[in-house]
Structures are given as structure tokens and as C-alpha cells.
């Protein structure tokens, strides 16, 4: 009884408290209203255009904002032509050298002295922690190179002290001295004549940093900020970086060139190629990097624009000549004849590449047109193997790179196709891969049996293919993953490197390519096109043969027809 009345009291008290409680239906309706409230038709495109914002869907996060410390194309794309400038540069879309920070230069007769006259009107970026008090001068050039060159330089050890490109090009052996011969004049003294030197100075690692900023950072006791809070002279200044998400840049209004560019630049980092393409198709990016061959095909079918250019690159299958059976040239030749490269071009590249006959692409001035491609004949391959004494077959490993690159969108697939081809000539293939950093480091140590890799040139000089990839010195400590050292070949490319006469150099290179064909340290596979996809309102984007993205001269314009496809054009 007592319980009952208590219950009643409870109910009565509670019911008074809960008077006016919304019914479930009302709750549901208000929820729906909230959802619909935020579902207004997308304001995205209008906002972007008003803010003069260009969104570039990039394929990865940069390893550093200082191109001196890295060699990956992704890192260069985020820095070299965006935040920094070099002494010289290429005319847009070509391989012709043009002035940049240096307005003129002269080379001594013996090819050992390069004197650069610097522009006086180049300001550096400012940031919250740095206000530059002077324009660029010789001190900055000296700082940038000496940091890499001199081990006792105060900034040498900062951020790891490894300058992979500088070391790979053996710059410290090439450059004898760098002298400041005037407030705006610098002299490079070389140990030997090196014709590609100007091309080398156009490479991202030769970007010019601010010595003043370095001093300021020393005072602030944060020298490493020079590499992750970058200050340069380039068309855009670095604003913010959210790892794996985006990089924001703002137009540098005091840039020394008055070339047109957008006010806001964002790199939307999207490593997943399918997602990148989906974002581009939906109009969330204005430019998309590294479209896969199938994306290009679908883009073509649906009237989406692409900008393409034949790339200065090569994809190859390198045989580690230090390990049997690859020490035998006959075996190498035999294997090159057994692979169906046409099928690879179709399946892996979707025909967005040309078959590689020589290690350098046809666009290079040193290309040997007279060399014919390797015959595809499994029968001949078997014969050759028999001659070499391997008629019973053998097993090999192919190390396939785990990431996509323009020159090789799918090394794994390529390895599988080669595996199938070689099965027909009694060669057993095991495919091996590792995480990229580990992969590279193991391959550099020569642990591989054979490897599928590639090379994207850093500069337009043919030497940039031959020396780093096929010279004797690079077989010891460089990118010569075939570990191949042929004295005759080496001699030729060295001569080509030191001669300053282009016609003479061409002759050397032509002969070198003949030796390469005979010795077959690689199977050259393809030269891929460099391409990006662009929205119709992007104007002025030029893709360079050597691949680093450049947004100078790129502007956004409303297209002429206003038909609103959802999300796409506007």
C-alpha cells in the first residue's frame, strides 16, 4: 500500500518535471531539419574562385621542405619551384637554360671557372619569425652550397647532415672552391671541366636559402627550422603544413618576376590514386598529379583535359652483374629477348609511354637513333641461354618497387608479367618487395638479384642519365643498381662530361649507347609521359619534361560556358 502511494508520488513529481517533453516525432523532425540545414547546394566552387585559390591534388607528403636534404620528386614538387629559386632555370616546358637568380654568367676557357652575376633585386620571404633586412646577395649563395659542401660548416649537421643529391653527384669532388667575388657576384672553381654544370645548378638541390635567416635561427636556437619552416625567394611563400593532409602557400607579392600567379595555393595530399581522381572529377582539385593510365583514358572519354609531355625518364629492369648468372652478358641478353615489352606497354602503361630502346629518351639531344630495339623472341633467348650453358633453366629474384612513379605505375604488375614470360624459357622468378625506404637502402647496398626501378632526370643534360645510373663510380656508391662497370663505356661518358663541345659530346654518347646495347646491363622498358589532369579554368600550366610542377604563369579563369555540372566546372 505504502509502496503504491510512493509510486504515485514519484510519477506525479516526475510528470510535473517532464511537462512539455518533446515527443519522439518532434525530436526526429528536428534532427532531420538540422541535417537539411547544412545541406545547402555546394558553395565550394564560388568560394574558391573568389579567393583565387588553386588546389593541387598531390600524391604524397614531402619528406622535408628543404630540397637539399631529399631526392624524392614529391618533395621537390612541394619546394623547388614553389618556395625557392636556383641560380639558373629552364625556359618553361623546355630543356633550355635560362637566367634566374643569376642574370648572367661567364665560363672560363678551360671550363674550370664559372662566374655568376646575381640580380640585385631579389627579396626573401618574411614570416612571423623572420623579417629579411636585405635582398639576396652572394652570401646566400655561399651559404646554400657550403652548407652541403663543407663538413665543418655550422649548418652542415643540422637535420641529419645528409645531402643525398650533393653526394650522389659527387659535388664535393667537383667543386674546388666557391668564392664571393663581389656583393652580387659568385665564382665557382671546379676541379675538372664539367659541361653539365649549368644544368646541375638548375636542379632543386641547388636552391638558394637565406643566410640571414640561418643566422636569425641560430639566435633563436632553432636551426632546424630552416628545413621545416622554409624561407626562400620563390613565387609562393610557405604558410602551413598539416602532415598527410595539406600544404598551404600564399603568393609572394614581392617576387622578383612579375609573372602571373594565383593568390592562394594548396596542395591537397591524396596518396590514393583512385581518391585523387575521384576528387578531381568531382571538382575538388583544379590539378591532379600522377594520373594513372586508366584515369587518362577515362578523362579523355569524358572531355576532361590533360596536359602531357614526353618525360625525361626511363623504367628499367637492372641485372645485378655482381651476382650470377647476371655476370654473364649472354644471360642478360637472353633475358632481354624473352620479355614482351609491347604487352607491358599496353597493360601497365596503357600506351601512355613509348618503348625504351636506349637508356635516354628520344627527346634528348644525345639520343642514338640508329640503335634498333631488342628483338622479342623466346626462341632466340633459349638458344642464347643454351650457348651460355644455362639450358636447364635457373631461378632469379626480381625486386619490384612498392610505390607508383610516373615512369613505372605498377612495378609489381610488371614483375608478374616478366615472371610469366620467363617461365616460358625455364627461368623461375621470385618477386620481392619492401617498404620504399628500406627497399632503396637495400638495393643501394646491392642486396638485390635484379630490380625493377626507374629514373626521372633532375636536369636536361644526358649526363644525368649516364653518370648516376651507369658509371663505374656510381656502381660503388650511387644509383647504378646493375653494379655494372665497363671501362670503355665509363671512359666515353667521362670524356663527354668534360668536353664543352656539344657535337663532340654527342659522338661520345652515341658510342656509349652502342656499348650499352651489347652489354645489356638493363632491359630498358619504357619512357613514360609526364601528365597532369586540369580543370578547364586552369590556364597556363605547362608540364616540364623533367617533371617538377611549376605554378608560375598559372591562373584561374571562369570558363565561357556556364552549364553547371555538379561539382565539376563552375
Amino acid at each position: 500500500m505504502i509502496k503504491k502511494s510512493n509510486e504515485n508520488n514519484d510519477l506525479m513529481i516526475h510528470s510535473s518535471l517532464y511537462r512539455g517533453t518533446p515527443s519522439p516525432t518532434k525530436l526526429l523532425l528536428s534532427l532531420v531539419a538540422l541535417i537539411c540545414c547544412s545541406c545547402t547546394p555546394s558553395q565550394n566552387k564560388e568560394d574558391s574562385k573568389e579567393k583565387d585559390l588553386l588546389v593541387y591534388c598531390s600524391e604524397g607528403s614531402p619528406d622535408s621542405f628543404n630540397p637539399q636534404l631529399v631526392t624524392s620528386g614529391t618533395s621537390y614538387d612541394a619546394t623547388a619551384n614553389i618556395i625557392y629559386n636556383q641560380l639558373v632555370t629552364y625556359k618553361p616546358g623546355t630543356t633550355e637554360i635560362a637566367p634566374s637568380i643569376a642574370k648572367s654568367w661567364s665560363i672560363s676557357n678551360d671550363g674550370l671557372r664559372y662566374t655568376f652575376n646575381l640580380r640585385k633585386d631579389i627579396p626573401f620571404h618574411g614570416s612571423q619569425i623572420f623579417t629579411p633586412r636585405r635582398n639576396l646577395n652572394a652570401d646566400d649563395v655561399l651559404f646554400s652550397f657550403n652548407r652541403q659542401r663543407l663538413e665543418n660548416h655550422p649548418y652542415h649537421g643540422i637535420s641529419g647532415g645528409r645531402y643525398p643529391y650533393f653526394k650522389a653527384q659527387s659535388m664535393e669532388r667537383l667543386i674546388k672552391d666557391i668564392r664571393k667575388t663581389g656583393e652580387h657576384q659568385v665564382e665557382f672553381v671546379l676541379t675538372r671541366p664539367e659541361s653539365p654544370f649549368l644544368s646541375i645548378l638548375a636542379t632543386p638541390f641547388a636552391s638558394i636559402l637565406s643566410a640571414e635567416y640561418a643566422q636569425q635561427l641560430n639566435r633563436l636556437r632553432h636551426p632546424e627550422w630552416i628545413d621545416n619552416k622554409p624561407i626562400g625567394t620563390g613565387p609562393f611563400r610557405f604558410e602551413r603544413y598539416e602532415p598527410d593532409a595539406y600544404i598551404r602557400y600564399k603568393r609572394f607579392d614581392d617576387y622578383f618576376s612579375d609573372v602571373k600567379r594565383v593568390k592562394n595555393l594548396v596542395f591537397a595530399i591524396t596518396p590514393d590514386a583512385a581518391m585523387r581522381f575521384a576528387r578531381f572529377s568531382a571538382g575538388e582539385c583544379d590539378v591532379m598529379s600522377y594520373p594513372l593510365p586508366v584515369h587518362l583514358r577515362v578523362a579523355q572519354k569524358n572531355d576532361l583535359q590533360s596536359v602531357q609531355t614526353p618525360g625525361l625518364n626511363v623504367a628499367y629492369w637492372a641485372f645485378n652483374t655482381e651476382k650470377p648468372p647476371f655476370h654473364d652478358a649472354k644471360v642478360r641478353q637472353a633475358l632481354t629477348m624473352a620479355v614482351d615489352r609491347e604487352a607491358i606497354l599496353q597493360t601497365v602503361y596503357d600506351r601512355q609511354a613509348t618503348m625504351a630502346i636506349n637508356p635516354i629518351p628520344p627527346s634528348s639531344w644525345a639520343y642514338n637513333k640508329n640503335i634498333t630495339k631488342v628483338t622479342y623472341s623466346k626462341r632466340k633467348a633459349l638458344e642464347l641461354l643454351k650457348e651460355a650453358g644455362y639450358e636447364n633453366g635457373f631461378s632469379i629474384d626480381i625486386w619490384a618497387m612498392p610505390i607508383q612513379r610516373a615512369y613505372n605505375p605498377n612495378a609489381r604488375k610488371m614483375a608478374e608479367m616478366i615472371q610469366q614470360d620467363l617461365a616460358d624459357i625455364n627461368v623461375d622468378v621470385r618477386i620481392i618487395t619492401y617498404e620504399w625506404g628500406t627497399f632503396l637502402s637495400r638495393v643501394s647496398q646491392g642486396l638485390h638479384h635484379s630490380v625493377l626501378l626507374g629514373w626521372n632526370a633532375d636536369n636536361a643534360d644526358p649526363n644525368n642519365f649516364f653518370s648516376p645510373l651507369l658509371s663505374c663510380s656510381s656502381s660503388v656508391s650511387g644509383n647504378n643498381y646493375a653494379k655494372w662497370c665497363n671501362n670503355q663505356f665509363d671512359d666515353l661518358i667521362l670524356k663527354a662530361r668534360t668536353s664543352s663541345e656539344q657535337s663532340e659530346r654527342t659522338q661520345y654518347y652515341l658510342k656509349a649507347q652502342e656499348i650499352f646495347k651489347q652489354e645489356a646491363p638493363w632491359l630498358t622498358i619504357a619512357h613514360a609521359n609526364n601528365s597532369v589532369l586540369v580543370q578547364p579554368e586552369v590556364n597556363g600550366l605547362i608540364v616540364s619534361p623533367i617533371g617538377n610542377i611549376n605554378f608560375e604563369g598559372v591562373t584561374l579563369q571562369k570558363p565561357i560556358n556556364d552549364s553547371a555540372t555538379p561539382g565539376a566546372s563552375n
Binding site: 581522381f277 575521384a278 572529377s281 577515362v298
Partner: protein, 291 residues
Amino acid sequence: MIKPMVSANQKAAWVIFRHNKGAMIGLIVLSFILLMALIGPWIAPHDPAHQFNTSILVPPIWNDAGNFQYFFGTDDLGRDMLSRLLYGARLSLQLTFMVVLIAALIGIVIGAAAAFINPTLRSLLMRIMDLLLSFPSLLLAIAIVAIIGPGLPNAIYAVVIVLVPQFVRITQSSISEELNKDYVMAARLDGAKKLRLLTHHVWPNIIPALIVQLTFSFSTALLDIAALGFLGLGAQPPMAEWGTMLSESRAFIQFAPWTMTLPGLAIFLTVLSINLVGDGVRDALDPRLNR
């Protein structure tokens, strides 16, 4: 001796099931899908791996640009969707059955053993099972695949490991429950040995619970395998697994929605019908758990 009263229940169960509209629909759809999976290779118009290079992203027949040759259209590599869906049915269902049966076998054996071991050990074992069950299944699968590598066989191991604890728990708790019942006490008093107790008396009575668990595990396994395929951790391209097909369609949803909607629909309908049948089976066998 008190006989387990199963046969009468079986008839009653079927009657209940038959009257459950949802369950019957599920059964029909599921049977149709099973049929397609079985005869798939014979009725598929094309080789699912063949790439028709000139027919990339052709729409299905109900679209203006579609044609009869590729009934459900083609994907981004020019492969016929219908053929791939049929082979995918075969693959997905085979994998699901295999995974569930292996997990059930392992789980039931462990669960049965657990019901007879010493209570502290049992409680420890069950605690571990509970922990595994509370662990997000996909996270566990990802961790396992990260260790042993991506690919179909490894995805199978991962999903089996994820499913086993459910079977262990249901077996153990069902057996324990039965062991406390009167008829078992009676049999024990009669002198029945443990093993006979298990096989002759207890087992027939726990079958309903196990069957219910089996049906739900089917849907979980199918979804997990497809999810792993979708994330690129399970069946790898060019295998025609539905989840993998969905993954490959991501870049082209805008231009070729059928490459996404059709494989997804296949997964959805299969899982839905399994769940409908499962619900029906549960209602039929265990009316106490009335909805």
C-alpha cells in the same frame, strides 16, 4: 531414461519458419544466389578476367549507351560486369562457407572442451574470448594482415581468428546451461560417462543455438571478407571478389556508377537474405526470444 525432445521441435520449427514472410523471402533470394554461384561458370557470357580494350566503362543494358553483349556493362579495364559478378558470387560464397566452417569447427571444439575443464581455467579462457570479442573485428583483421601480409589466404586466416571466439562462447555457455538441467542430472545419476553425456544428451539440444550462431557468422564473415577486399587487404585485383570490385570502382563512381552499385548490391542482398533467414531460424528454434 529421458530422451531429448528434439524431433517434435523440428517440425514445429519449420512451421514457424514457413509462416515468417521475411524469412521465406530471404530463403528464396539466398537460394537464387547460391544457384547462380553454382552454375555461374557455365552461364557467364565472358571470361571474367578478359579485358576488352575497346569497351571500357560501357554502361549496362538499361542505359542508352549499353548493349546486349555486356549486360551489366564493363569496368575500367573492359571486363564484363555480369561475368565478374557471377564468379564473384562463387568466390565470395565459397570463402564465406570455408571461413565459417573452419571457425565453427575450431570454436566448437574449444568451447566443448572448455565446458568440462576446471572452472578457473574456464573462466580465464572465457575472459580471453570476451576480450577478443570486444576488440573491433576490423582492427584485429588489419593487425593480423599487417603481420602476415595482404592477400586472400591471409585475409581468410584473419577472419577465422575473428570468428572463433563467438563459437567458443556460444558452445561453452550452451553446454554449461544444458549440463545444469534436470535430464542431464538424471542421466548422470544413471551412471552416464562425460563423453556420452556430451554426444548423446547435450549435443542435440545445443544444435539450435549453434545453427543460429552459424547463420549470423555467415553474414559477418561475408561482410568482413568484402571489407578486407575493399581496403586492399584481402583478395587482390584482378580477382573478382565483390569487395575488391568495389575498391576498383572508387575512382569512377562519377562516370560509371554501375561498377560500384552492382557489386555492392550483390553483397547487400546476400547479407540481407542471410540475416532474414537467420532471424527466421532463430525465431523458429528459440521462440522465447520473441521479437
